[in-house]
Amino acid sequence: MKKVIKIVLQISVLFLFFYIGEWIQSSLSLIIPGSIIGMLLFLILLLTGIIPEKFIKDGLDLLLKDMPLFFIPVTVGIVNLLHVFAGKGLLMLGIALISTIIVIYTTGLLTQKIMGKEE
Protein backbone atom coordinates (compact mmCIF):
# COMPACT_ATOMS: atom_id res chain seq x y z
CA MET A 1 0.00 0.00 0.00
CA LYS A 2 2.83 2.34 0.94
CA LYS A 3 4.44 1.63 -2.42
CA VAL A 4 1.22 2.40 -4.30
CA ILE A 5 0.90 5.77 -2.52
CA LYS A 6 4.53 6.53 -3.32
CA ILE A 7 4.03 5.78 -7.04
CA VAL A 8 0.82 7.84 -7.17
CA LEU A 9 2.67 10.77 -5.56
CA GLN A 10 5.60 10.41 -7.99
CA ILE A 11 3.26 10.43 -10.98
CA SER A 12 1.42 13.42 -9.51
CA VAL A 13 4.72 15.30 -9.70
CA LEU A 14 4.62 14.80 -13.50
CA PHE A 15 1.10 16.29 -13.64
CA LEU A 16 2.26 19.21 -11.52
CA PHE A 17 5.14 19.96 -13.91
CA PHE A 18 2.87 19.44 -16.93
CA TYR A 19 0.35 21.98 -15.60
CA ILE A 20 3.09 24.45 -14.66
CA GLY A 21 4.43 24.07 -18.23
CA GLU A 22 0.95 24.59 -19.71
CA TRP A 23 0.47 27.63 -17.49
CA ILE A 24 3.82 29.14 -18.58
CA GLN A 25 3.00 28.43 -22.24
CA SER A 26 -0.41 30.07 -22.14
CA SER A 27 0.57 33.05 -20.00
CA LEU A 28 3.62 33.83 -22.19
CA SER A 29 1.89 32.68 -25.45
CA LEU A 30 4.88 30.46 -26.31
CA ILE A 31 4.92 28.10 -29.31
CA ILE A 32 6.75 25.36 -27.37
CA PRO A 33 4.20 22.90 -25.91
CA GLY A 34 3.60 23.12 -22.15
CA SER A 35 4.61 19.47 -21.80
CA ILE A 36 8.10 20.25 -23.17
CA ILE A 37 8.44 23.30 -20.92
CA GLY A 38 7.44 21.09 -17.99
CA MET A 39 10.02 18.51 -19.03
CA LEU A 40 12.81 21.09 -19.23
CA LEU A 41 11.92 22.50 -15.80
CA PHE A 42 11.85 18.99 -14.38
CA LEU A 43 15.23 18.23 -16.02
CA ILE A 44 16.76 21.35 -14.47
CA LEU A 45 15.58 20.30 -11.00
CA LEU A 46 17.04 16.80 -11.56
CA LEU A 47 20.39 18.19 -12.81
CA THR A 48 20.70 20.61 -9.89
CA GLY A 49 19.88 17.82 -7.45
CA ILE A 50 16.87 19.68 -6.05
CA ILE A 51 14.82 16.58 -6.96
CA PRO A 52 16.95 13.44 -6.39
CA GLU A 53 16.39 10.65 -8.96
CA LYS A 54 15.45 8.14 -6.26
CA PHE A 55 12.50 10.30 -5.14
CA ILE A 56 10.70 9.92 -8.44
CA LYS A 57 12.21 6.98 -10.31
CA ASP A 58 9.80 4.09 -9.49
CA GLY A 59 6.66 5.86 -10.71
CA LEU A 60 8.34 7.30 -13.79
CA ASP A 61 9.97 4.05 -14.85
CA LEU A 62 6.59 2.39 -14.51
CA LEU A 63 5.06 4.85 -16.99
CA LEU A 64 8.06 4.91 -19.36
CA LYS A 65 8.19 1.11 -19.52
CA ASP A 66 4.67 1.01 -20.97
CA MET A 67 4.73 4.18 -23.02
CA PRO A 68 3.04 2.62 -26.07
CA LEU A 69 -0.15 1.96 -24.03
CA PHE A 70 -0.76 5.70 -23.77
CA PHE A 71 -0.66 6.18 -27.55
CA ILE A 72 -3.37 3.61 -28.28
CA PRO A 73 -6.58 5.70 -27.78
CA VAL A 74 -5.25 8.48 -30.04
CA THR A 75 -4.16 5.98 -32.70
CA VAL A 76 -7.60 4.32 -32.59
CA GLY A 77 -8.88 7.74 -33.71
CA ILE A 78 -7.98 6.71 -37.29
CA VAL A 79 -11.29 4.83 -37.27
CA ASN A 80 -12.92 8.23 -37.93
CA LEU A 81 -10.36 8.96 -40.67
CA LEU A 82 -10.39 5.75 -42.69
CA HIS A 83 -12.01 7.60 -45.61
CA VAL A 84 -8.93 9.87 -45.78
CA PHE A 85 -6.76 6.93 -46.78
CA ALA A 86 -8.64 6.16 -49.94
CA GLY A 87 -7.08 7.45 -53.18
CA LYS A 88 -4.96 10.54 -52.66
CA GLY A 89 -4.86 9.91 -48.92
CA LEU A 90 -2.53 6.96 -49.49
CA LEU A 91 -0.01 9.46 -50.85
CA MET A 92 0.18 11.06 -47.38
CA LEU A 93 1.26 7.76 -45.89
CA GLY A 94 3.82 7.42 -48.68
CA ILE A 95 5.22 10.88 -47.88
CA ALA A 96 5.56 10.02 -44.18
CA LEU A 97 7.38 6.81 -45.16
CA ILE A 98 9.73 8.39 -47.73
CA SER A 99 10.55 11.35 -45.48
CA THR A 100 11.47 8.91 -42.67
CA ILE A 101 13.73 6.90 -45.00
CA ILE A 102 15.49 10.13 -46.09
CA VAL A 103 16.10 11.16 -42.45
CA ILE A 104 17.54 7.81 -41.34
CA TYR A 105 19.80 7.47 -44.37
CA THR A 106 21.18 11.03 -44.50
CA THR A 107 21.47 11.58 -40.73
CA GLY A 108 23.14 8.22 -40.13
CA LEU A 109 25.57 8.84 -43.00
CA LEU A 110 26.46 12.40 -41.92
CA THR A 111 27.05 11.38 -38.30
CA GLN A 112 29.16 8.38 -39.31
CA LYS A 113 31.34 10.60 -41.54
CA ILE A 114 31.92 13.16 -38.76
CA MET A 115 32.86 10.41 -36.30
CA GLY A 116 35.11 8.71 -38.84
CA LYS A 117 37.07 11.91 -39.28
CA GLU A 118 37.49 12.46 -35.55
CA GLU A 119 38.69 8.96 -34.68
Binding site: I36, L40, M67, T75, A96, I104, T106, G108
Partner: protein, 229 residues
Protein backbone atom coordinates in the same frame (compact mmCIF):
# COMPACT_ATOMS: atom_id res chain seq x y z
CA UNK B 1 -23.20 6.52 -13.68
CA UNK B 2 -23.75 4.89 -17.08
CA UNK B 3 -20.78 6.80 -18.49
CA UNK B 4 -18.55 5.62 -15.66
CA UNK B 5 -19.49 2.00 -16.43
CA UNK B 6 -18.86 2.44 -20.17
CA UNK B 7 -15.61 4.24 -19.47
CA UNK B 8 -14.42 1.51 -17.12
CA UNK B 9 -15.22 -1.21 -19.68
CA UNK B 10 -13.18 0.44 -22.46
CA UNK B 11 -10.37 1.44 -20.12
CA UNK B 12 -10.02 -2.12 -18.82
CA UNK B 13 -10.43 -3.62 -22.31
CA UNK B 14 -7.59 -1.43 -23.65
CA UNK B 15 -5.28 -2.35 -20.77
CA UNK B 16 -6.03 -6.08 -21.02
CA UNK B 17 -5.48 -6.09 -24.79
CA UNK B 18 -2.22 -4.20 -24.25
CA UNK B 19 -0.97 -6.75 -21.68
CA UNK B 20 -1.88 -9.65 -24.00
CA UNK B 21 -0.24 -7.94 -26.97
CA UNK B 22 2.98 -7.51 -25.00
CA UNK B 23 3.01 -11.28 -24.41
CA UNK B 24 2.43 -11.85 -28.12
CA UNK B 25 5.28 -9.47 -29.00
CA UNK B 26 7.69 -11.21 -26.62
CA UNK B 27 6.87 -14.53 -28.31
CA UNK B 28 6.99 -13.19 -31.88
CA UNK B 29 9.05 -9.99 -31.91
CA UNK B 30 8.24 -8.42 -35.26
CA UNK B 31 7.27 -4.91 -36.38
CA UNK B 32 3.78 -6.23 -37.15
CA UNK B 33 3.30 -7.55 -33.60
CA UNK B 34 4.25 -4.32 -31.80
CA UNK B 35 1.58 -3.79 -29.08
CA UNK B 36 0.59 -0.35 -30.39
CA UNK B 37 -0.08 -1.91 -33.82
CA UNK B 38 -1.96 -5.03 -32.76
CA UNK B 39 -4.14 -3.35 -30.10
CA UNK B 40 -4.95 -0.34 -32.29
CA UNK B 41 -5.88 -2.56 -35.24
CA UNK B 42 -8.11 -4.73 -33.02
CA UNK B 43 -9.90 -1.70 -31.55
CA UNK B 44 -10.31 -0.02 -34.96
CA UNK B 45 -11.84 -3.26 -36.31
CA UNK B 46 -14.13 -3.46 -33.25
CA UNK B 47 -15.36 0.12 -33.68
CA UNK B 48 -15.67 -0.24 -37.44
CA UNK B 49 -17.81 -3.39 -37.40
CA UNK B 50 -20.00 -2.59 -34.37
CA UNK B 51 -22.30 0.37 -33.68
CA UNK B 52 -19.87 1.55 -30.95
CA UNK B 53 -18.53 5.00 -31.89
CA UNK B 54 -15.05 6.38 -31.25
CA UNK B 55 -16.60 8.95 -28.91
CA UNK B 56 -18.12 6.15 -26.84
CA UNK B 57 -14.76 4.34 -26.74
CA UNK B 58 -13.08 7.58 -25.66
CA UNK B 59 -15.26 7.84 -22.52
CA UNK B 60 -12.73 5.27 -21.29
CA UNK B 61 -9.87 6.19 -23.63
CA UNK B 62 -9.69 9.77 -22.35
CA UNK B 63 -8.38 8.47 -19.00
CA UNK B 64 -5.38 7.07 -20.86
CA UNK B 65 -5.01 10.23 -22.99
CA UNK B 66 -4.90 12.24 -19.78
CA UNK B 67 -1.33 10.94 -19.24
CA UNK B 68 0.12 12.01 -22.60
CA UNK B 69 1.37 15.43 -21.45
CA UNK B 70 2.81 14.19 -18.12
CA UNK B 71 4.53 11.38 -20.07
CA UNK B 72 6.55 13.97 -21.98
CA UNK B 73 7.63 15.43 -18.63
CA UNK B 74 8.77 11.91 -17.62
CA UNK B 75 11.22 11.85 -20.58
CA UNK B 76 13.42 14.15 -18.47
CA UNK B 77 14.49 11.05 -16.54
CA UNK B 78 16.23 9.13 -19.38
CA UNK B 79 17.73 12.41 -20.51
CA UNK B 80 19.08 12.97 -16.99
CA UNK B 81 20.45 9.43 -16.85
CA UNK B 82 22.26 9.82 -20.19
CA UNK B 83 23.97 13.07 -19.19
CA UNK B 84 27.46 11.47 -19.21
CA UNK B 85 26.93 10.25 -22.79
CA UNK B 86 25.61 13.66 -23.81
CA UNK B 87 28.85 15.26 -22.64
CA UNK B 88 31.10 12.73 -24.33
CA UNK B 89 29.46 12.89 -27.75
CA UNK B 90 27.97 16.35 -27.40
CA UNK B 91 29.23 17.87 -30.64
CA UNK B 92 28.35 15.08 -33.05
CA UNK B 93 25.02 14.50 -31.31
CA UNK B 94 24.01 18.15 -31.65
CA UNK B 95 25.07 18.35 -35.32
CA UNK B 96 23.43 15.03 -36.24
CA UNK B 97 20.16 15.64 -34.42
CA UNK B 98 19.81 19.23 -35.67
CA UNK B 99 20.42 18.07 -39.24
CA UNK B 100 18.00 15.14 -38.96
CA UNK B 101 15.27 17.22 -37.30
CA UNK B 102 15.38 19.83 -40.05
CA UNK B 103 15.52 17.22 -42.85
CA UNK B 104 12.57 15.46 -41.20
CA UNK B 105 10.39 18.60 -41.14
CA UNK B 106 11.47 19.91 -44.56
CA UNK B 107 11.26 16.65 -46.54
CA UNK B 108 7.77 15.90 -45.21
CA UNK B 109 6.43 19.45 -45.57
CA UNK B 110 7.95 20.08 -49.02
CA UNK B 111 6.65 16.78 -50.46
CA UNK B 112 3.18 17.52 -49.04
CA UNK B 113 3.22 21.01 -50.60
CA UNK B 114 4.45 19.62 -53.97
CA UNK B 115 1.59 17.12 -54.05
CA UNK B 116 -0.85 19.97 -53.35
CA UNK B 117 -2.31 18.85 -50.03
CA UNK B 118 -4.26 21.39 -47.96
CA UNK B 119 -2.81 23.43 -45.09
CA UNK B 120 -4.08 21.10 -42.34
CA UNK B 121 -2.25 18.12 -43.88
CA UNK B 122 0.94 20.14 -44.46
CA UNK B 123 0.93 21.27 -40.83
CA UNK B 124 0.21 17.76 -39.58
CA UNK B 125 3.19 16.32 -41.54
CA UNK B 126 5.70 18.66 -39.80
CA UNK B 127 5.86 16.75 -36.50
CA UNK B 128 5.77 13.13 -37.73
CA UNK B 129 9.36 12.37 -36.61
CA UNK B 130 8.76 13.06 -32.91
CA UNK B 131 7.30 10.93 -30.15
CA UNK B 132 3.48 10.89 -30.07
CA UNK B 133 2.72 13.10 -27.03
CA UNK B 134 5.02 15.82 -28.34
CA UNK B 135 3.74 15.44 -31.92
CA UNK B 136 0.20 15.89 -30.61
CA UNK B 137 1.16 19.03 -28.66
CA UNK B 138 2.91 20.52 -31.71
CA UNK B 139 0.05 19.55 -34.04
CA UNK B 140 -2.43 21.25 -31.69
CA UNK B 141 -0.26 24.38 -31.65
CA UNK B 142 -0.07 24.59 -35.48
CA UNK B 143 -3.76 23.66 -36.09
CA UNK B 144 -3.11 20.27 -37.66
CA UNK B 145 -5.22 17.13 -37.33
CA UNK B 146 -4.39 15.24 -34.11
CA UNK B 147 -5.61 11.76 -35.07
CA UNK B 148 -3.87 12.02 -38.44
CA UNK B 149 -0.69 13.15 -36.64
CA UNK B 150 -0.80 9.96 -34.55
CA UNK B 151 -0.99 7.93 -37.78
CA UNK B 152 1.97 9.74 -39.40
CA UNK B 153 4.00 9.30 -36.21
CA UNK B 154 3.22 5.60 -36.21
CA UNK B 155 4.31 5.25 -39.84
CA UNK B 156 7.57 7.10 -39.07
CA UNK B 157 8.15 4.78 -36.09
CA UNK B 158 7.36 1.57 -37.94
CA UNK B 159 9.40 2.59 -40.99
CA UNK B 160 12.40 3.04 -38.67
CA UNK B 161 11.89 -0.28 -36.90
CA UNK B 162 11.36 -2.22 -40.12
CA UNK B 163 13.64 -0.48 -42.63
CA UNK B 164 16.10 1.35 -40.33
CA UNK B 165 18.65 -1.46 -39.92
CA UNK B 166 18.65 -2.14 -43.70
CA UNK B 167 19.06 1.56 -44.54
CA UNK B 168 21.97 1.97 -42.12
CA UNK B 169 23.67 -1.07 -43.64
CA UNK B 170 23.23 0.38 -47.15
CA UNK B 171 24.77 3.69 -46.00
CA UNK B 172 27.60 1.79 -44.23
CA UNK B 173 26.71 3.37 -40.87
CA UNK B 174 28.51 1.10 -38.41
CA UNK B 175 29.08 3.27 -35.31
CA UNK B 176 26.39 2.70 -32.62
CA UNK B 177 26.20 6.44 -31.91
CA UNK B 178 25.54 7.21 -35.59
CA UNK B 179 22.98 4.39 -35.79
CA UNK B 180 21.20 5.68 -32.68
CA UNK B 181 21.08 9.26 -33.97
CA UNK B 182 19.80 8.14 -37.40
CA UNK B 183 16.92 6.07 -36.08
CA UNK B 184 16.12 8.07 -32.91
CA UNK B 185 15.84 11.33 -34.87
CA UNK B 186 13.50 9.80 -37.48
CA UNK B 187 11.55 7.17 -35.59
CA UNK B 188 11.20 8.15 -31.89
CA UNK B 189 10.24 5.45 -29.33
CA UNK B 190 9.33 2.64 -31.74
CA UNK B 191 12.65 3.00 -33.56
CA UNK B 192 14.47 3.31 -30.23
CA UNK B 193 12.99 0.02 -29.00
CA UNK B 194 14.29 -1.70 -32.13
CA UNK B 195 17.82 -0.23 -31.88
CA UNK B 196 18.00 -1.17 -28.21
CA UNK B 197 17.64 -4.86 -29.10
CA UNK B 198 21.04 -4.77 -30.80
CA UNK B 199 23.16 -2.30 -28.85
CA UNK B 200 22.69 -0.58 -25.52
CA UNK B 201 24.80 2.39 -26.60
CA UNK B 202 22.83 2.82 -29.85
CA UNK B 203 19.59 2.51 -27.88
CA UNK B 204 20.64 5.13 -25.33
CA UNK B 205 21.72 7.55 -28.06
CA UNK B 206 18.46 6.87 -29.91
CA UNK B 207 16.44 7.69 -26.76
CA UNK B 208 18.46 10.86 -26.36
CA UNK B 209 18.00 11.76 -30.04
CA UNK B 210 14.25 11.28 -29.81
CA UNK B 211 14.13 13.62 -26.81
CA UNK B 212 16.26 16.35 -28.36
CA UNK B 213 14.46 16.00 -31.72
CA UNK B 214 11.19 16.59 -29.86
CA UNK B 215 12.55 19.83 -28.44
CA UNK B 216 14.07 21.04 -31.74
CA UNK B 217 10.97 20.18 -33.78
CA UNK B 218 8.62 21.81 -31.27
CA UNK B 219 10.62 25.02 -31.65
CA UNK B 220 11.37 24.86 -35.41
CA UNK B 221 8.20 23.32 -36.89
CA UNK B 222 5.95 26.34 -36.19
CA UNK B 223 8.67 28.67 -37.54
CA UNK B 224 9.26 26.63 -40.72
CA UNK B 225 5.50 26.31 -41.33
CA UNK B 226 5.17 30.04 -40.88
CA UNK B 227 7.78 30.66 -43.59
CA UNK B 228 6.54 27.96 -46.02
CA UNK B 229 2.87 28.77 -45.40
Amino acid sequence: MRDIMIGAVFLILTIILYILSKKLYSMFPNPFTLPIVTVSVLLVVLLFYTPISYDTYMIGGQWINFFLGPLVVALALPLYRQRALIKKYAKVIIIGISFGSIVGILSGVVLTILLRFDTTIIHTMASKSVTTPVALSITKAVDGNISLAAVFVMIAGLAGAMLGPILLKLAKVTHPVAQGIGIGTASHAIGTAKVLEKSELAGAVSALSMTITAIIVSILAPAILHVLG
